[in-house]
């Protein structure tokens, strides 16, 4: 009974593993991975000597840091607001349903939505909002400086409804007696939130953050590739390790460089997952991944 599943994992996850050696070879499609000649660390040397290596590492890490801080804060705030509101029973469910919706849309659809706003000639921003302020239309897809903000906003828009669910279900599990006691002592809402809810949430926050840090070497490929429309002028600011690997393989045919970047990502990523998990284990054994 276990066989079909194991066969799938073998094909999808284990069979490619020996192929990692491609990163240490001069790949020749005719000879295949194992027939191609070795070249030692040449591919890595080439990768790390190019400005790309620093650029994609910096982008991946900085965006992830921004996402962790901003998305976590927003998710906690929303969870607290929804759970502590004492009026409007059904409308709270409506709020929750609506903010979860963006999470279910494919990145391609998201890129259409963003394009609806930012398109140079038809976009809502250029045609309706900017003229109100008498501003000139902006070539959004050619101007890198706006994209860190755009990507952070899109990521927040897409993830806040999803992320708040974990915090919401944690808050709902809290013992209401704390709050009743605080009320009797005259603590207002703000006091209750800062002195009861947030301290009780601390373990969850730490754990979620540590797990996110473990994934800091990985990025949402669609967000960085599809939402900026793979626009060349934006590359310096939107290229992450994942988009670099895809571009190398699918567009540029730099198979070995892509493979080298992939090995770099897999190994550093693995160390980070192990490291962050070790830390979570120290803090709270039950919350650790393993």
């Amino acid at each position: 009974m276990a066989l079909p599943g194991l066969a799938y994992l073998f094909i999808n996850n284990y069979m490619p593993l020996p192929g990692i050696v491609i990163a240490f070879k001069t790949y020749n499609a005719k000879k295949g991975i194992f027939g191609s000649p070795w070249c030692g660390l040449k591919n890595f040397e080439f990768l790390f000597k190019s400005p790309d290596a620093f650029n994609i590492t910096r982008n991946t890490i900085l965006y992830n840091f921004a996402f962790i801080i901003i998305n976590t804060t927003a998710a906690i705030a929303v969870a607290i607001i929804i759970s502590e509101m004492t009026s409007g029973g059904w409308i709270r469910n409506v709020y929750q349903s609506l903010i979860l919706l963006p999470h279910l849309l494919s990145t391609v659809i998201v890129s259409y939505l963003v394009n609806g706003f930012l398109n140079e000639t038809n976009g809502f921003v250029n045609m309706t909002i900017l003229p109100i302020f008498g501003a000139e239309p902006i070539k959004w897809y050619m101007t890198p400086k706006y994209w860190p903000y755009i990507l952070v906003i899109v990521s927040l828009w897409k993830s806040v409804g999803y992320n708040c669910i974990v915090y919401l279900s944690t808050i709902i599990g809290f013992d209401r007696a704390y709050y009743e006691a605080a009320l009797i002592d005259g603590a207002g809402k703000w006091k209750q939130i800062t002195k009861i809810t947030l301290p009780l949430l601390r373990p969850t926050i730490i754990m979620m953050t540590m797990l996110a840090i473990g994934r800091i070497f990985y990025s949402d490929f669609g967000l960085f590739y599809q939402v900026p429309m793979n626009s060349p002028p934006l590359l310096t600011i939107t290229n992450t390790i994942d988009t670099y690997i895809y571009r190398g393989l699918v567009q540029l045919g730099q198979v070995t460089l892509s493979a080298a970047a992939g090995v770099y990502q897999s190994f550093v990523g693995f160390c980070l997952v192990m490291g962050s998990n070790l830390l979570v284990r120290k803090i709270d054994r039950d919350s650790a991944l393993f």
Partner: protein, 297 residues
């Protein structure tokens, strides 16, 4: 004082949440409104929230050619087959891992778990599927790579079978002479309905929304494109042509042959529609599922 404080929090909370909820769906509304606006009006005024001139031409146009309906059929078949395969192999492996009698249970569980920690990356996976299995430009390229199951689904399933399906019930089934397969189908599976529904939902969304597989593995046989791939290819072509309009000789012509402004939005709506329709029904289940999967998701 207490009531006033609480009222103030409620008012502020409603304002913030109403603002966020509006922002969450606003882009989708812009898309819908643009798709039912007359094309010439769109070119003049840009996308807007109020259709100055109502028109359903874009939708009529879509169904004149078979490109969109075909991509739609592919997406639907892919999602149905994908969810079926995914549930079959995930529930069976999860169930087997939950049973005491499975030989090498510890090692197998570790092998499943390890797939969550380390993977070969895109290039070796691509070479494996194209050179060894020759999946390139076949329907299987959309179905198989990466999406069918993963360590997380399997372990989620396993832990549900361990905690949610009492051993006594299973043993009772054995005593009554049920085979392993029969126990699984008639006893364990019905008890695991919530987790099966959750994984069906996750996997259905993953298949419907996926465009990576088509993007990487389908290059020549574009008739295999799912609706997501069709959308992706379309917007990519438009972007390429507008950016290089000066350098390419027939750029104007190329742009004219691509579905016009409103049609683009209409196709996006068509791709979005199943999710919008299913949303009220799946939303509750999804929240339950995320909570069930817990933080480790």
């Amino acid at each position: 004082m207490r009531n006033k404080d609480e009222r103030r929090f409620n008012v502020l909370g409603h304002i913030i949440m109403a603002f966020l909820s509006f922002n969450a769906i606003m882009p989708v509304i812009l898309l819908i409104m643009s798709s039912i606006t007359d094309n010439d009006t769109l070119i003049r005024d840009g996308y807007g929230f109020i259709p100055a001139k109502f028109s359903l031409k874009a939708y009529e146009y879509i169904f004149e050619f078979d490109t969109v309906p075909r991509a739609y059929v592919i997406s639907i078949v892919l999602t149905l087959v994908g969810v079926f395969c995914s549930l079959t192999i995930t529930t069976m492996l999860g169930y087997a891992l939950a049973r005491q009698g499975l030989p090498f249970r510890g090692i197998i569980t570790f092998l499943v778990f390890f797939t969550m920690l380390f993977n070969g990356g895109l290039v070796p996976t691509y070479v494996n599927y194209t050179n060894v299995f020759h999946l390139k430009d076949t329907f299987f390229a959309l179905l198989i790579p990466g999406l069918m199951t993963n360590g997380f689904y399997i372990l989620l399933m396993k832990s549900y079978f361990v905690t949610g399906v009492p051993n006594e019930i299973m043993e009772a089934a054995y005593i009554d002479g049920a085979t392993e397969m029969k126990t699984f189908l008639k006893v364990a599976l019905p008890l695991a309905k919530p987790i099966v529904a959750t994984i069906a939902l996750f996997s259905g969304l993953a298949y419907w929304n996926d465009w990576n597989n088509g993007y990487v593995y389908i290059s020549k046989r574009v008739e295999l494109y799912s609706i997501q791939n069709l959308l992706q290819r379309m917007i990519q072509n438009i972007q390429f042509l507008t950016q290089n309009a000066g350098n390419i000789v027939n750029a104007e012509q190329g742009l004219a042959s691509i579905p016009s402004v409103s049609v683009r939005m209409a196709i996006a709506i068509v791709g979005l529609l199943p999710i919008l329709i299913a949303y009220p029904f799946v939303q509750r289940q999804l929240v339950k599922g995320i909570t069930l999967g817990g933080v480790k998701g």
